[in-house]
């Protein structure tokens, strides 16, 4: 009876084809990451849905702002002005230090310091896989967003963009179980890898020996190795250090510095071209090699290490 009504290939054939297609898609997506175009196209199909889900929440915040009394606005304004003044005073000092730093760097003929371009993006309030730490941003390839781009908030590194659609993009937070970020302990300069735990408030520092000089309260900053994240941004604060007897590695946990679950706005970071001046091995060539493209992350980190060695040598 069924065949009277169902046209085309039978359900079994279709099922088999689609299952094989799914497996192929999963493999291709995982191994070669070459489905970005498809993902980007499909993401523009669902963007209206995501936007309409987000709209009531956006309206709520808008209404909250629009309906707040003049008194609270005035108070807020006064508070912001005071803070602005404070920040400007501190910026003056920073400006002088930055100039001094530039001069010293020139004396050492080191790479010029990099600058970053920032763009504010809002988080679209839709839920994603509850077991991943992903967020959806309202900026996409039309705003020059690209995969691998770091995102930060006012307090520190939040994560990096993984998929980009025309109008939206998906970013992975540093606490995602499949994310890792190269860091440096601010106090000692010790380098490590902070990998996500899958919990929103925890990072793990694996494979550090028992004797490592690290203690609760230490600030972790990005080391800039690997080339994805800009150096010297705060990442996390060490929250727990245990040295279990009989284990070869210490058990170290850290708490992200950025407000991963509270921020409504994030900053997308573009790094300027000077940062990609690689690979150069001689200090003299650095000024000439600024436009050369980075060959690979490994080489970049190696040359950076060499450079710091040279700097140390120069100082001595």
């Amino acid at each position: 009876m069924q065949t009277l009504f169902i046209r085309g290939p039978s359900a079994t054939v279709r099922m088999a084809v689609l299952v094989i297609a799914s497996i192929t898609l999963m493999t291709v997506d995982h191994r070669w990451h070459s489905l970005e175009i498809v993902r980007s196209a499909l993401s523009s199909v669902i963007y209206p849905l995501q936007y309409s889900i987000d709209l009531p929440i956006r309206l709520f915040y808008w209404a909250d702002e629009a309906l707040s009394s003049q008194q609270t606005l005035l108070e807020k304004n006064r508070e912001f002005q005071a803070r602005h003044l404070e920040n400007r005073v501190q910026l003056q000092k920073l400006d002088i230090i930055e100039k001094e730093n530039d001069r010293l760097r020139k004396l050492l003929s080191a790479i010029p310091k990099t600058t970053e371009r920032l763009l504010i993006s809002e988080i679209i309030n839709v839920d994603v896989d509850p077991y991943r730490q992903l967020i959806l941003l309202n900026k996409g390839s039309s705003n020059d967003v690209h995969p691998g781009q770091p995102i930060i908030d006012a307090l520190g590194i939040m994560g990096q963009v993984i998929h980009v659609g025309p109008l939206s993009s998906t970013a992975m937070l540093i606490t995602d179980a499949s994310h890792a970020i190269p860091v440096q302990v601010n106090r000692t300069g010790l380098r490590a890898i902070a990998s996500g735990s899958g919990k929103i408030d925890q990072l793990n520092l694996r494979h550090l020996p028992q004797s490592v000089d690290i203690k609760v309260g230490d600030l972790l900053i990005t080391s800039g190795l690997g080339g994805t994240f800009p150096p010297n941004f705060p990442v996390a604060i060490i929250s727990k250090v245990e040295r279990p007897a009989g284990e070869s590695f210490a058990l170290i946990e850290a708490k992200p510095h950025a407000q991963l679950d509270k921020s409504r706005e994030v900053l997308l970071v573009w790094r300027n071209k000077a940062e990609q001046a690689e690979p150069v091995t001689k200090a003299d060539d650095i000024a000439d090699g600024q436009n050369a493209d980075a060959d690979s992350d490994k080489e970049q980190s190696v040359t950076k290490e060499k450079r710091s060695d040279q700097r140390r040598g120069n100082r001595e």
């Binding site: 898609l25 999963m26 849905l49 889900i53 839709v126 839920d127």
Partner: protein, 162 residues
């Protein structure tokens, strides 16, 4: 029939929106699989129109929205809808309770498949709450069925008789 298809698509879009709607933190792990439930209903009611192909595309869209691997939701969706599709005549005459039992096991297989993929990617969740959507979806099946049946009757069958 076209009207049925239209109302089917509208409810699938509605389910999709429920699937991505932000929930409070404690409720996120309990979110029923709205899209699968609605697809199951339509695969049972109009198997000639809504079947495995629609399920596959919906699954892919869900993958893109959730940021999961392309095909992770789609493959489970296809398998569930396939079983519903070939058994739709039996399921139609079964009681809501019996339907719910079948759906429970189908959703369990779908969830295991997804867990398997997550495990291969190296980020398998270590919490039993991972199977919570299966239970909440099963519990919500009778209501989903009744609401969608009423919708279908209201928007398509009545108009036919006019």
């Amino acid at each position: 029939m076209n009207k049925t298809l239209r109302i089917g698509m509208m409810t699938i879009i509605g389910a999709f929106m429920l699937a991505i709607m932000p929930l409070p933190d404690w409720a996120v792990e309990f979110r029923p699989e709205w899209v699968t439930l609605v697809l199951i209903y339509w695969a049972m009611a109009v198997p000639a129109r809504i079947g495995v192909t629609v399920a596959w595309f919906t699954g892919l869209l869900l993958d893109v929205s959730y940021g999961t691997l392309m095909g992770q939701h789609a493959i489970g969706m296809v398998l569930v809808i396939y079983v519903i599709h070939i058994q739709h005549q039996r399921l139609r005459v079964a009681s809501l309770m019996q339907q719910a039992i079948v759906i429970f096991f189908l959703l369990l297989i779908k969830q295991l498949l997804s867990l398997w993929v997550d495990g291969m990617l190296g980020h398998a969740p270590d919490s039993w709450l991972y199977f919570m959507p299966t239970i909440t979806s099963t519990l919500l099946w009778p209501w989903t069925y009744l609401i969608l049946r009423d919708l279908r009757r209201k928007f398509s069958v009545e108009k036919h008789f006019q």
